[in-house]
């Protein structure tokens, strides 16, 4: 089927989120808190980059051109996905917020009328279960520790409101056409409820505001994106025509 433009926008936004988060998780290889954690986060990075690749494949035959060849304003990633998070507590919090969102987003695509997307969602959901288990069990254990909570709380308070942007997309026709099975506003509310529930048990109360505070979906990039993009395209730019 040839999906409506809204469907393509949704997939592109999702793919860009996964591309950025996968790239950011991968930064932690060999410098995590201990070797088991290096291995876990790197596995998750590979899954996220794999999701990005599968999603781009739904839109184009030239995946690398789409992933790395656009101008900054043509990316649709949420700002929370772009942030470098070179402090491990921030990386962990983003990992959990991202994966709670991912589970909701993929679930809403299972049974999509865009069959390839539905199949992809089913496969991705199997992986998400492990990502979420890893992230939230680690986060919970660290939040149960006083010093852990001191480290993590600022990251939670700052990053969580940005997570709303995961659900920013026009969905009027998406519902009508059966591309998604749950309206984005409902997905967003589910994400807020789950996130609130997770942190409330540690007396961390998040002010989510009334709407997403960032505008990555409209083509405005976060302050970290330029560095991220520079890095991910560093070798490709040496000789853009060559096969690497």
């Amino acid at each position: 089927m040839m999906p409506h433009a809204e469907g393509r926008d949704l997939v592109l936004s999702f793919a860009d989120d996964e591309l950025c988060v996968g790239q950011n998780h991968a930064w932690w290889i060999a410098i995590g808190p201990f070797l088991e954690e290096d291995l876990a986060l790197t596995s998750i990075a590979q899954d996220e980059l794999g999701h990005a690749r599968s999603l781009y494949t739904l839109l184009s035959d030239d995946v690398d051109q789409l992933a790395y060849g656009r101008k900054e304003a043509e990316y649709r990633s949420a700002h929370i996905a772009e942030l470098l998070c070179h402090d491990w507590s921030w990386a962990l919090v983003r990992h959990v917020l991202h994966d709670i969102a991912e589970q909701i987003r993929w679930s809403a695509l299972v049974g999509s009328s865009w069959e390839d997307l539905s199949h992809l969602a089913e496969r991705a959901l199997g992986e998400e279960q492990f990502h979420l288990q890893h992230g939230s069990s680690l986060l919970s254990r660290l939040l149960a520790d006083e010093r852990g909570q001191q480290r993590l709380t600022p990251a939670i308070l700052e990053l969580a409101p940005l997570g709303r942007e995961y659900f920013v997309s026009s969905d009027k026709h998406l519902i009508e056409n059966g591309i998604v099975t749950m309206p984005l506003a409902a997905q967003e509310q589910l994400w807020i409820d789950q996130t609130t529930g997770l942190f409330k048990q540690y007396d961390i109360n998040i002010d989510f505001g009334s709407e997403a505070p960032s505008a990555g979906r409209s083509g405005i990039r976060s302050h970290d994106f330029a560095a991220l993009h520079e890095e991910m395209t560093a070798v490709l730019r040496i000789d853009p025509q060559a096969q690497w």
Binding site: A30, I31, D145
Partner: protein
């Protein structure tokens, strides 16, 4: 649990193909030697991961990024397994080994004291360095008398084989790619050839105990020579030159002969005085120290159910 009356009886057991297990009452010099060898291997895998990580974020394209990430993850996985096998020998804990490494008290292989300057350096590491490491590991695996190490090497070797083939594929792409790519690859070969050849170390001592105790099965100079015979023709066939003015083919036996190696710089490098040793170790030490709160928080409480 087994025990031996004396070193003669133990060496007789090893010569007959005996395999030692962690609970055996192995002679202390053997335990120490095996431990030091595995610790050096573990440190090298970990430092190898750190060497490669600079270029993972820059890997060209999604496919390359995924394979580069998977490869480095393998190296970290090897380090993880090896540290556990080393810890089982009861000489140092994993934490003690990590701290010794980061404080510069223990060592890692020469090749990981250099910086990866470009994507083609990354390829050279996968192609030239991993091949050298693989050859050394295969020689240990063949006849290794310490059971847990031998079993882990089976997996390590299988994965290193993939890395080398992946490196070869990328090297061939550069060899037949654009002029820029070919030139970049040549520069990387110029940088990495000697370190890769040096990975095998100086000629084995006549009384090398690691050989006598069947940890190693081949002499360093034999492994090095076999590597040279394989890689010189491959690189020349791809249109690359080898950065060794004394390199020549012996007309009598048809074998490639390299220039004599000055081992002094290598010894200096191995004492953590290599070109990138200080940065490499301080990066790892900073990361380790910055995350101390995570390790503390996790050990200060019972595991969650």
């Amino acid at each position: 649990m087994r025990a031996w009356r004396d070193m003669d009886e133990f060496e007789g057991f090893l010569d007959a193909g005996g395999v030692v297990e962690p609970n055996d009452e192995m002679p202390e010099p053997y335990r120490q030697a095996v431990f030091r060898f595995i610790e050096l291997h573990a440190n090298s895998e970990y430092m190898g991961g750190l060497t490669e990580r600079d270029w993972i974020p820059k890997a060209p394209g999604l496919h390359r990024k995924l394979t580069a990430l998977a490869k480095t993850q393998d190296e970290i996985g090897h380090a993880h397994l090896l540290y556990m096998v080393a810890a089982d020998l009861g000489i140092k804990t994993r934490e003690e080994m990590m701290v010794d490494l980061l404080e510069g008290r223990t060592h890692f292989h020469n090749v990981f004291h250099y910086r990866v300057h470009s994507w083609t350096d990354q390829i050279a590491v996968a192609y030239l360095v991993d091949a050298a490491a693989l050859a050394s590991q295969q020689a240990v695996f063949k006849n290794c008398s310490y059971g847990p190490y031998k079993r882990i090497l089976r997996r390590v070797i299988a994965e290193e084989g993939f890395h080398m083939r992946n490196g070869e594929e990328m090297m061939l792409l550069m060899a037949h790619g654009s002029n820029t790519q070919h030139e970049m690859m040549q520069e990387s070969i110029d940088r990495w050839w000697l370190p890769a050849v040096q990975l095998f170390g100086p000629d084995s001592r006549p009384n090398d105990e690691l050989l006598r105790w069947h940890v190693k099965s081949e002499r360093n100079e034999d492994l090095r020579d076999r590597y040279v015979q394989k890689f010189v023709p491959q690189l020349l066939a791809c249109g690359f030159t080898i950065p060794d003015p004394g390199l020549e083919k012996d007309q009598t036996d048809g074998k490639w002969k390299i220039s004599p190696i000055d081992w002094e710089p290598l010894k200096q490098t191995m004492r953590n005085g290599g070109p990138d040793s200080a940065r490499r170790i301080s990066d790892a030490r900073n990361a380790w120290n910055n995350a101390a709160w995570v390790r503390d928080a996790l050990t200060n409480q019972p595991a969650s159910t």
